[in-house]
């Protein structure tokens, strides 16, 4: 295998349904997603050169290290190179990036990338504690949590941009509506703006239905030369970690940098993107990321959402699979699940939620409250 300038291709994808709670073990989840993607790619486990697992905290949730090794053993890929990549809530996309680099470097030809998390393996209090370890150390010592940061950002967005709260609610409404057509989504019941706005306050003006759930699940992609979806760009970037040290709570520099790098690698501009999966852990993040990625100017995304531009039949369908908000957010799985959805979109297989046209897709997976992001561009092999 020699170093290659050709874009690696995705030959198969698969995932488990995302659920609030499952009795399956983490290994069962990643194995099921892996086997689905391998079958879809028509690649046998023994053909794999490398296995990369994206997972945030198996040690904390399920008391195990070496998940990649356990997966290699259980799917029968012994011989392949294997490791796990962790980047908190962006572990999935970081694992994918690692797989792409192995292919481009000529170290592997057929790579299985699986993201998974089993958050219900511990009780709610412990789960909150584990997720809480994502924020900056100083913030954590002062009791700052992700929802508290999202509350501050939501408030700032509404005030600084004189935005309508209905736009945030509409992000949730849109994503729940999309998830209703996604058989793998955790929430398949549509919600109304009124339901979002009357849901319990978490950190006012942030409400419960502005937040993604905790979830169990796994998603997988197979990189192989015979694939029909090209990976034309994948790039990561860190941004200022502690939120109070940022220029503004409304800036997510890491998304802007990763987006610029990935778009530049693909040689395209935001206008060329047909469909996007962004990291809507909180509704306000969907707006901020669309602005950082250059789809809309600062403070302009909320109007676009209200105008229906980000709906499946809009000019830029965003989170057609339901996003983190409604498909669910098993931390290490999310970045891979976004790519699975993009592949289904680019293949025209997203029944009931198909973006048209769908030749070029973009995904952004975000760690913490925006301190490390990975942006990926996939293009249909037309």
């Amino acid at each position: 295998m020699a170093v290659s300038d050709a874009a690696p291709t995705v030959a198969g994808v698969g995932m488990t349904p995302f659920e609030s709670e499952t009795d399956d073990r983490l290994l069962d989840l990643v194995e099921r997603a892996a086997l689905a993607a391998l079958a879809d790619a028509d690649v046998t486990p023994t053909e794999l050169d490398a296995v990369v697992v994206g997972n945030m905290a198996a040690e904390a949730f399920t008391d195990r290290s070496g998940l990649a090794n356990a997966l290699v053993d259980s799917v029968g890929a012994t011989g392949a190179s294997a490791d796990r990549v962790e980047n908190t809530s962006a572990s999935g996309a970081s694992a994918f990036k690692r797989g792409v680099e192995a292919v481009t470097a000529g170290h592997a030809e057929r790579v299985l990338v699986v993201g998974g998390e089993h958050m219900s393996a511990v009780d709610r209090e412990r789960s909150t504690e584990i997720v809480g370890s994502i924020v900056h150390g100083t913030e954590r010592r002062h009791g700052v949590t992700l929802p508290s940061l999202a509350g501050v950002a939501t408030d700032a967005y509404l005030r600084e941009h004189d935005a309508d709260r209905a736009a945030l609610s509409e992000v949730a409404v849109k994503n729940h509506g999309n998830a209703a057509a996604n058989p793998y989504a955790q929430f398949r019941t549509p919600v109304t703006r009124e339901e979002v706005e009357s849901s319990p306050a978490v950190a006012d003006p942030l409400r419960l239905y502005d937040c993604c759930p905790t979830s169990d699940g796994a998603a997988a992609v197979v990189l192989a030369p015979e694939g029909d979806v090209r990976v034309t760009g994948v790039a990561g970037a860190t941004g200022t970690h502690a939120v109070p040290e940022r220029q503004s709570v409304l800036r997510v520099e890491s998304v802007a940098k990763a987006g610029t790098r990935a778009l530049s690698a693909a040689g395209i501009s935001p206008a060329d993107v047909d469909v996007a999966c962004v990291h809507d852990a909180f509704t306000v993040l969907e707006l901020l990321e669309l602005e950082e990625l250059g789809f809309y100017g600062p403070g302009a995304a909320w109007k676009a959402v209200l105008d229906g531009e980000t709906a499946v039949d809009g000019t830029l369908p965003v989170n057609p699979g339901g996003g983190l908000k409604a498909r669910g957010h098993p931390l290490g799985a999310t970045g891979v699940a976004q790519l699975v959805e993009l592949v289904w979109q680019l293949r025209g297989e997203a029944v009931g939620r198909q973006a048209t046209p769908a030749y070029t897709g973009l995904a952004v997976n975000v760690a913490g409250f925006g301190n490390n992001s990975i942006c990926t561009i996939l293009e249909a092999d037309t």
Copy 2:
């Protein structure tokens, strides 16, 4: 940055002393190693394109995820891509491999790779439990531990090869002797064969001084174009996970495969290697790995050790830095520390333990009881 066929180069290395116990936090350890390597490379943090952290179980030992992000923030490398790689006790070498692939793929030019672990952050019982999660799930449920596997392998080696127990003792004696000259080693006191053989039985015939300790510490390397040590081969491979399913308890297939792949990538044979760092978590593993790597035939390594061939002044100096046995084994740090030692050897800077000649170095870092290995070849830029 374009895809490159040229071998990436190591421009700087650094490490913390390895210790049984430290009050420093994990982040302090990885930061200190990182800054030492950056200074050695004359690279500033803002020049880094990527940061990769090798760590086995920060969630379990120190209740944190996102170590790569915390490191980027603390050293001032914001903007760089960053993530952590986990592959149990081979996390360090897996992280290095990931860094090399990022460079070869043209995704990064200057990469900081840091491995670290803070095992003393929990009590001995919990630490044993965390390390115990490395073995195959079925083995773990039946109470099998790494030392118990090592005991079985030690017994089999002595019986099947009619080997002299003194050879195992000599591995410990040699590595402790080498560590005495390494200011970063955990144990700097030489030991005698008699002391090894009269140390407490762990899993007869395996004795306490046949085993590596638990440790705290970190090690780092900087990949940059101006480096003077070339990475001519790096490859990983998994082998059969559950030991009872292997052809023999004396086979470590993953080492053989990773070794063959790395040597082939470098275009060299075992006879071209001047100095080696192998994964001597137990003395018997040093012998088995030397045989799997092709340095000695099956059952022949023990005689070579007794003949002094693997001593610093022998034909193939092995573990001149003291190995896991005496330098210490902070899980995620070890694979990187092996490369730091090789770089010092290749530069002729290993005072008191210098191999001569030292143009070509090989390291092998092993996960679990041999189920996943990474082999790296470094060559001096002569």
